[in-house]
Structure formats: structure tokens, C-alpha cells
Amino acid sequence: MAVVTYAMALARALEEALVADDRVALIGNNFGGLTAEQRHFDELGARFPDRIDHTPWSELANAGMAIGAATVGMRPVVDLVTASFVFQAFAQIVNEAPNIAYTTDGRTRAPAVFHMLAGIRGAGASQHSHRPQAMFWNTPGLQVAVPGTPGDAYGLMRHYLLEADEPCAFVSHPKLLEVEQEIADWEAERLAPGRGRIEREGADVTIIASSVMVTRSLEAAERLAADHAIDCEVLNLRTLAPFDDALVAASVTKTGRVVVADECFRSAGAGAEILARVAESHFASLRAAPRRVVAPDVPVPFSPVLEDAVTPTAERVVAAVAEACAR
């Protein structure tokens, strides 16, 4: 049984895709960012030098190039490195790629993958800490992957490179790169987009999480069980678009209490949309007001003390769940 990091699992998906399909190409190869985990992608680069373009800082053209190549059958993944750089490429990712299949009635498709490292990362400050997944979710035609585990990263990247028909914003969290998971059965990780997972079963309250908040919610659940005798069910959404409404429905109907854990900003963040769906569809099942653990509407500050104050942590999930379960 293999213990792998998120980065290793992502590199494995890229490797399998490069081997399986000649049309797979990498535009940029800094998936591990400035962490030691980048070595896995450097090794991949050394194995497949002809399948990787090393690009200048031209995010707009890099993203657009992937879209154009995808429309004629290539299966490119663009590595945009830090998610805050994706704004340079928004015109292509948000305003070109998602409309192509819709406007051609599916005759032309643009299954390009846009990978980025998004998250509050430790002194990244206002310009290197964006979590733009809610902006992508606000873009019909674009799928949004928000893997929470190494297995998710593997399964979803493999899917988007080898099987998907849709363009995808693939949002990895820099603090997940070194997170480990024991994976016995890689095939079991090849779950389709729009299918979430129950990471921990529980009876009292549903925590709906994505990306790095899956890890933090599981940590919170253990503390809540030990210190408060609260039994949490933790859901890992894996993708925002498509959204696993059925998974949420089953869990919320069972527990009647909901806490959404999301690292986006509060206003119009991913958490806001999830809470709206819960309120719309499951109002009658709710036994307490649903809550969200999110970042306040303040640019992410540089100072570690200030950054800690805006980060949705396991402690803050514990506090929100305890409130939701208070009689």
C-alpha cells in the first residue's frame, strides 16, 4: 500500500495521461510551486521534455493557446502557478473557453485544464493568496475542481486530461501539496466530477467542505467527537461545478444541521452558494440555522498574526459546529 502526497498523486495522473494519450500536453510545469514537492514535476519534465512547453509570463496567451489547441483535439493542461496570476488570463478562461461548446451546439469542444495553486498560504498577502473558485463557479460552461485529498487530485486530473469534454479550472491548494494519503486502489480514486465523498460518517451535523477545508474539517470532527460528544459527517465536494446535490441532500436530511467550511471570502464565495442551495432545498429538514466558516471580506494581509485571524481553521470549524449543535 502506497503512502503518497497530493503532489505525487497529481504527478501520477499527469504521467498516466502523458503515457496514455499523445494529445496530452503540458503548458508550464510548476505544479508544485516553490515547495520541495516540485521535484516530482521536475522528474516528470525530465521524462517528457517534448511534451512540455516552458512559457514566459504570458498567462493570457498561455491559456488561450490551450483553448485553441483543445478545439482541434489536443488535451492540454496549462499550469498558471499561483492562482492570483489567473486574473491575467481571465479573458480567455472565463470569456472564451466556456462558450465554445454551447454556441456550436457541442460540435466544437475545448477540454483544456487550467491548473492553479489557490489559497491562504503563509505571508502570500493580498496579491498571492486568492481563491478564485467562486468566480469560476459563476461561469457557466466551466467545470471547477477543488480536490481535498491526493486521491481526488489523481482521479480528477486524470479524468479531465483523458475523458472530459469540458474546460476545467483545476484549483489545488498550496497547503495540500504535502498532505499524505494511503492509496491501495488507484482505480477507486477515479470518481467522476460531480460526485463527492463522505470522508467521515456522522449523525449530528453535516460539514460540507472542499479543498484544504476537508483536512481541517476532519481534524475538527475528531476534536468535536472527543471534547463535545458531537458526531460530525464530513462531505468532500471534489468539484463545485458540477455540484453533488444528492450527496448533500442525503446527509442534511439525516443530520438536520449544516456547517459549510470554505476558504473563499464571505460575500459571494463558494460557501454562500452552498448555503443558498441548502436553504432552498432543505429548509424543512433544518433543525438549526446553517452556518459557514469562511474568510472575512478583507484583502488577505501579510502579517502572520493578521493572516491567522482571517484563515478558516479547524478551531473555527469546531466553534461553528458547537454553535450549530447548541440547544
Binding site: P56, W57, P296, P299, S303, L306
Partner: protein, 315 residues
């Protein structure tokens, strides 16, 4: 020694001390960062000291400057109090931006702003320049990596079209993060864009403060007179790698301090004098860093909401 040589010697002695002041600041920062005492991703400006000194020597108080993601030398050469910059790098309340900005997002009055985004300040500098009255100008520093962004070309085109009083200062260190210049463009030197956009342009050895000053002064004359923008390409060495903690593609060749010190020796300045200057400035910078780190002025998160909008209603 002729009077001209004596002048040059006095000027070089002064510039050397100024360049060393910038270098010493970053040496102290690098040491504290390596020891885990300063947070964040650091891009040092080591290698660009002669450019900063040469450019600011031609600027007047009413001129304004925009910086890049290697901003420390620009802010220090622009007269910003080193204690404010050091405290900002430490994320302290007494920092230039009260610990909110950190290394890549410094902002002040005369040196208006840095950016963590390649090419991010070029259009902003253009807009700022359009509001200036003669003879005030705006100088905007950027790296050669920024030349491959759309922001560079859109800004150059508009500045030329509308005759904006901007001096575009490219610090060409030959690298964009981890790729060398020949890996990311077929255009040889950045100076060539001057001809394309029809604006005066020069390229200089960016390790020579005198050469930078002379070229910048020549280029600034028509800019101040309202003739439109100019472009100065300064070839410099990236003495550190892309960021602190990484050691790929760093070099000690082309160190502007060593170049100036060689020239000082030729002009008869003794090595002991040079070493004394170096040692004293390094001691000052280290003492400043210690003093800032010893402070307990941690910013208060409760103040944050009030900073987001001029009139906060609710968050």
C-alpha cells in the same frame, strides 16, 4: 588628480556608500529570513543597486516612482525610512503599510507602489503620469519578464500615443523566474521596442551608476518638456536566484558594488576605507533588523474591517 577626477571620485565615494546602504539592508533581511525570523517569499533587488541610485539621482522631489516585485532598493533609494520598510517586512504595526502589505506590496508617497504581479504597475504608472504637470515625470521600474506581458505593450503604446511623461526603466537581469531570456522571447534587447513605438530609448550597463545617471538624464530632458515617454534598458545581474531559499541561476558576476569598488581603487581610494564603509553599513542594517524584531508592535486584526472601505457599513 584633476578637478574633474576629484569630482568623480567624490561622487563615486558617495554613490558607493548609498549602494552599500541598499545592499546591507538586504543582506540583513536575507540573514533574518534564512533564520526564519522574517515571513514570506522574498525577491531581493541585489544587483540593481546602481540602477536605483543612478535613476533617483536624476529625479526631483515632485517626480514619482513605481516599482516591481524586487522593490526594496527602489524604496530605500527613494528616501523611504529603512525602519519603516524593515518593520513592514516583519509584518509589524509600525511598518510602512502597518504589516498589511509585506515585501512585494509596499506603498508610500514618492515611491508610489510595488506589485507582486509581473507588469502590474506599468498601466498604473501611465495613469498617474497622465495627471502630472510639466516638468514632473513618473519613472516605472519593471523586469525584462514583464516585457512579455500584454500590460507592457498596452502601456507603451498608450504612453507613446498620448505623450505621457513616463520613463520606463527595464531592469534586465536576463531571467524571468526560472527561464532565461532566450527561452522566452525572440526579441534580442528590450531597447528595440523604443524604435517600434517611436520613443527615445537607450541601453546601459546597469552596474555603472554614472552610466545609468547619464542616460536617464538625457532621456528625461524631452520627457520633462512634454515630448512623451522614454525607455531605458539597464543590463544587470541577478545576484540572488528568483527567491530567497532557492539557489538556482544565481551569479556573482556583474556585481555593481564590486564594479564601483574597482573604479574607486583606480581613483586611489584605499581598500581599508571601502571595507570600513561596508562594515559600518552592514552593522547598521543588522542593528536595525534586530531592533525591529525586538519590538512587540503586532498589528490588531480588529482594525482590519475599518481599512477595507472608506465608509464601512458592514462586513
Amino acid at each position: 588628480m584633476t578637478p574633474a577626477e576629484a569630482d568623480q571620485r567624490a561622487r563615486l565615494v558617495h554613490w558607493h556608500a548609498e549602494m552599500m546602504r541598499l545592499r546591507a539592508f538586504e543582506e540583513a533581511v536575507a540573514e533574518a529570513h534564512a533564520a526564519g525570523e522574517l515571513p514570506g517569499l522574498l525577491h531581493l533587488s541585489m544587483g540593481g543597486e546602481a540602477v536605483a541610485i543612478g535613476i533617483f539621482d536624476c529625479l526631483e522631489d515632485h517626480d514619482r516612482v513605481f516599482s516591481s516585485h524586487r522593490p526594496h532598493s527602489h524604496f530605500l533609494a527613494g528616501g523611504v525610512d529603512p525602519r519603516l520598510v524593515m518593520a513592514e517586512l516583519a509584518g509589524r504595526q509600525s511598518g510602512l503599510c502597518h504589516g498589511r502589505a509585506g515585501t512585494m506590496h509596499l506603498m508610500s508617497d514618492r515611491v508610489v507602489m510595488a506589485t507582486g504581479i509581473v507588469g502590474g504597475t506599468l498601466p498604473v504608472a501611465l495613469g498617474y503620469a497622465m495627471t502630472r504637470s510639466q516638468p514632473a515625470v513618473v519613472a516605472c521600474f519593471f523586469g525584462d519578464g514583464a516585457v512579455q506581458t500584454g500590460a507592457f505593450h498596452e502601456s507603451m503604446n498608450l504612453a507613446a500615443l498620448w505623450k505621457a511623461p513616463v520613463l520606463f526603466v527595464c531592469e534586465n537581469n536576463g531571467w524571468a523566474e526560472f527561464s532565461s531570456r532566450d527561452q522566452h522571447t525572440t526579441v534580442g534587447n528590450v531597447v528595440r521596442y523604443g524604435e517600434l513605438y517611436g520613443i527615445p530609448a537607450q541601453e546601459v550597463d546597469g552596474s555603472d551608476p554614472e552610466a545609468v545617471r547619464r542616460a536617464a538624464a538625457e532621456l528625461l530632458e524631452p520627457v520633462r518638456a512634454g515630448a512623451g515617454p522614454a525607455l531605458l534598458e539597464c543590463h544587470i545581474a541577478r545576484l540572488r536566484s528568483h527567491y530567497e531559499g532557492d539557489w538556482r541561476e544565481q551569479t556573482s558576476e556583474g556585481d555593481p558594488l564590486l564594479a564601483v569598488e574597482r573604479r574607486l581603487s583606480e581613483l586611489g581610494v584605499h581598500d581599508e576605507e571601502i571595507n570600513e564603509v561596508r562594515a559600518a553599513l552592514l552593522a547598521d542594517a543588522r542593528a536595525l533588523c534586530r531592533s525591529v524584531l525586538a519590538g512587540d508592535d503586532v498589528p490588531d486584526p480588529d482594525d482590519d474591517a475599518a481599512l477595507v472601505f472608506a465608509s464601512p457599513l458592514s462586513t
